[in-house]
Point group: D4
Chain length 221, copies 8
């Protein structure tokens, strides 16, 4: 049985990353993982939610093996081969969504997928979205990142027919705190066919986009 | 003490309606109220949430005294004096919001306030809002009625600086059922200064608008 | 501005359906819509959540114009042109998820997209999924429909790297009632890159799949 | 299209502030924003939720450019032109609501709108409200700030017919923690026509009031 | 052990009723209980939540043994001995709270405790409470019954120092539906020392008041 | 009007404390309040939720004026006159409920009411309650303090007919975290006539008990 | 792979039932299932949540093949072989929990496991539990069924060290409605080692007990 | 009465531990408890949730008396006598569940029960579970520890018929934060007869397993 499962798994592994989610891991476990993966650069690995406060305390030699990005808290030792086809537009409502926006962007970079980030398109100022619109609409997959009312997902979903994944963020206070207002707004969107991810899950949105981009590339073979 | 309070109350009563909320009232109590108010047409009264199934069973003579509107479930015996200044634009996302939209419209009619209804402006088709935009923007007060993601409130709130009241509706299923997704979306709106009403409270939105229109008329005296 | 938006909208319309959500619509409004669309068979229209109890009372002549499916409550007057590339596997946990499963299947049929349904794959009997596995894995897009613990989404998501959309269903009682246990389970899935839809939103899952299939066909042009 | 939108936006901008919400922004981003805005004093800017712990560490020269108020955590470089007509009464239940109360007051000051603060009017001691009553009732717009049971909003709303906006606060513990008891109490108020803001959103209440005051001034022109 | 417990139980039984909660009981079980208790009139029994639709179908002979009150849905075969000391004021916000208000009143009647009902004291019209105030304040125990914002509990609790029990009602829609807004408002009341009962639990409020009145009578012995 | 209200208020003040809730108050405001009240020892004042970390930093001279109790975080400058009649039994489930248990006890001490504390009576070891039972049952009023399942309230409420107030505590983790499991358990208690307070509100329970004890003393006059 | 899984499954099937959950199944599907299983009496099948209103309409010949129990809504065509060792005590708080209590009892009967039901042991009258105590304590496994505060689970769990499964019921109103107060109370129980089932899941509790009884019998072989 | 209860309690005590839950206990109380129990090594005691930060500050001499395990935060002075029969398999989804997994393992060690831990069996990689499967299936009782979607519980429950207890963990973010997604997933599991514990309650799962193992040993006597 294992061989059967292993085959399918290997197929999946071609497209989706081996990622290590760092939040909540014991410090000594995390350090050991970083050291192990640093030694084996041939096999790229992705670390998400790797806190700057922690990373700064990791031995210099280990840190040097990583491409680390503070805002997104994403580190990797190397990237997967560049995909020939397809690009992803990551559209966010505000700079406060930056952590999640860039977690998606960095994960796509690691996965070898072209991605472009368009920040600060909150619908309270609709003209900002409009000025980026043509560049966004040309991408094969769209990721929308937004907190609060998450109205951006519905507006983009109503204007563009491409595969669209939406990530609610935990930005905000009061009823918006923790991201539930954005989550329910995206799930209940009046625009059809939006795939929603867990709150703050920029990594997951990148994987969802990668599932589509990988399919495009496989079909094109 | 009562005289002081009474004075203020009387002042308030000039603008805000004596309304009877019919839902949950015992049938015989409701019939008695309808009969009493029908006799005293000089003093107009507003009935909200008056179910068609019930109203159709009220004696013909009593029913004849009322201006009843089935979709909104609003009845009144007469209207308050027409306000000279100010009008209200009621903007809804879809026809499914009709009950609440027209409860607001009918309440404003009863209050003697000019109101115009613009339905079916959901942001999944942004051009529908745009084609109504100039007429909406000219009103003194805006009421937005929307369920699901309630993104319409944020889009309108970002485009127009007039006093704006938003009513979430209980339209929808799953996370939208009962109206909580729309409510939290409106409260967390990225557009500033939107006053939110309880779910399905079209009557309350009309009263909130009336507080502003009444002020305009008083100041103009 | 409108022309720009209109162009994009038209582009979107090529792929995504004009659908009429029937739940909560006033009966006379619904009947009028069914009559109008029946007359204009050249332009196919989709009706979702159209209750059998209601449809049976629609005039025979109107009903005859529709392809109606009772379990899914979906009706349409005709289908959109068949897409050349891509198929969708719809995998459900149990027969109790049938309404949602078939709403997705029927919507895909209307959209001209090949779809295959695999029911009764709940993980409490893992061998059922395994016996369907090779047929499922060959599709370009996977839709998982499940209620209760929704564990099926995670198991499928861990085995197959294709674009995957998950629909929680409101099947069940106690903590499962209304579908929130399935929804949160899917959003928190330990498998990466799953796009989640609102509870019971089979129509939305079909649209999400269509966004991918349409992209495949456009790229292949 | 942009020019049309831009016009409306500019119109809105006359009345509503360009505000920078500081909570959750990266420290170096925030410092850069403070420095930029300090240089261009001609264009007043509003910073909300600017923590004293952070502000004290900003370079002296930058700090000097700002009018900062510790309790409200509001800073601005200058104010907008004084409105000729209209004043706002801000009525709070207790001193524990001070942060929100003064955020509203400071935002109105920035917007050039006359505002008066009346604190400590909790209904558990009704005579305190009564002793302030005549001064409150004379204002054109009322803002009520309250946590816990938020009963103050209903009492004021029942006594005064002016436009009224209510802000729930997150003050309290147990069921009151986070402000949800106050929020639902205000939304369900037995007084009609109260526009409710998000929890702790003093800034939003000021904007809602400004929408009314700006209308008054425009009508009077 | 049992005898010890039995003694205390008997002591308790002197004051608190043997009540049968009828909601959810199988019809044939309920009919049997009504028949049994009707035969033994010497031992008074209380039935709560006894639906009029059901009671009307009970055999005439059985029904005749009961003092039944439709609005409160309370029936009893006889009352407990009249307490010499103490009375209870039951103060409600609106007539829509009638079911709960009268469940409390009827339970107190059964328990032999003097009770007076004051309806329609909602704080949106504060003068109504004030006109009843002196009569209310003279009672030994106060019960406040209110839905929506439940502000009445706080206002009464701030004016009167007597033992006060508050019952939230499920009256209302939107955030008020089911009674949670009223419940949290009462628990978070800014007035101190209010004992809160479950939503719609008029029977429980009467029992809580009875615990105090019984104590008063025992102490006076 | 004010004089009328003032009279009732004064009457209330005789029994219920002027209490200052310290949590969330700005440090300099709190220090000023402590200094003011320290000077006027003739008028006793109660401070609740006064954190030890803060109190230790208050000037020695001011601290000396207070009777401070660290676990309960309650301080007062003096007590109210001793009530002649009545005592209160405070029964808690575990030592982890100590903060709330002793907040109630200390508030009663301040109010001049005799109180006895019985800790560690959780129903998982029923014999512990039984060994304290006779002493508890003799008190005029019972306060039950419990977290988790709060089963203690129901067991005590079923054994003793005296006025009973129940305080849920926020002790625990998982579903018990924050106290909601205990709160709903107490509100839904199968024992009748229990008045429930907000989570962790030991002060409120003492006030509720004081309302009863004060009534007893007044009636006895 | 399938053979491996199949083996384990077959092993499991020896102990746990093939059950058909009837709620939400389409009527014609349900009738077909009942007919099929009626024909094959050699292979006993269990139907749960089979509504009396539906069952009465099933053809007489089919109905005759079933042992149907109205209160529990459980039907089966025959029972599994009697287990030699072990019995289960099902202890409920009130008769209103009857549906769930008897669903557990009937499922155990079908599974060939000895079970005894003890109803009406609510802790508000502790002596009722005590009079059944010795008979309950002698069983190998205990199932506690309770709604409202579910205090019974904690009391039994504190007195008896046998495997104990607790089923919350949806009995009650207000905060108890739907069973969440009972569920959280059982999960947070101060007695250790209680396994909790979903709300109203009497069938599941029987299966949990069967897992233990089957183990006992296997070990004894 | 006490002697009866005491007997049963003593019987229970044989199997279930005297455990001290350390979280939330005052430091000086905790230190005193550790000192007392260290002196009396003859009577083993279990401390759970004993923070490493705290334990490191306990006097060396006291610490030396304890077997302390940092990850699980469990300490004990000695173990209970080894049970002759039965072993427990503790199966976890990921290393992030380590705290809870090892709290269960350590509690079983203290209770004298053989236990084996199998970590990292998340269903996103089904082959990991399969490679451990035969060793797991041989145990008498299974404990599943999982966060997020908790799908592991359903998969194991569908494959193995032994008594199974499931512990949701608070691992995760967004909808998974706090453990509610895992909790509801386990309660709604499509596998039958799983007893669910409170979130993060590894100790409780060990006690539930011990109730079964103790029964096995008693029956075997």
């Amino acid at each position: 049985m294992q061989s059967v499962l292993f085959d399918h798994e290997r197929e999946a592994r071609i497209g989706l990353p081996e990622a290590i989610f760092c939040e909540g891991k014991e410090p000594h476990v995390l350090t050991a993982l970083l050291e192990t993966c640093a030694r084996d650069e041939a096999k790229p690995t992705l670390f998400t939610r790797l806190a700057p406060e922690f990373f700064v305390g990791v031995p210099e030699a280990v840190r040097a093996a990583y491409d680390y990005h503070e805002l997104s808290r994403v580190a990797f030792t190397g990237c997967m081969p560049r995909k020939e086809k397809g690009s992803v537009a990551i559209v966010s409502a505000g700079t406060a969504d930056g952590r999640v926006t860039w977690e998606a962007a960095r994960t796509l970079e690691y996965l070898g997928i072209e991605a472009h980030v368009y920040e600060d398109n909150g619908v309270a100022g609709l003209w900002r979205l409009m000025s980026n619109f043509e560049k966004i609409a040309v991408a094969e997959v769209i990721i929308v990142v937004a907190g609060l009312d998450a109205a951006l997902a519905s507006v983009v979903g109503g204007l563009i027919g491409k595969p669209l994944f939406a990530v609610p963020t935990s930005v905000g206070y009061g009823v918006a705190a923790g991201g539930n207002s954005a989550l329910s707004s995206m799930l209940a969107s009046c625009a059809s066919g939006i795939g929603v991810l867990n709150i703050d899950n920029g990594y997951g949105a990148a994987c969802a986009a990668a599932r589509v981009i990988n399919l495009l590339n496989k079909v094109a073979e």
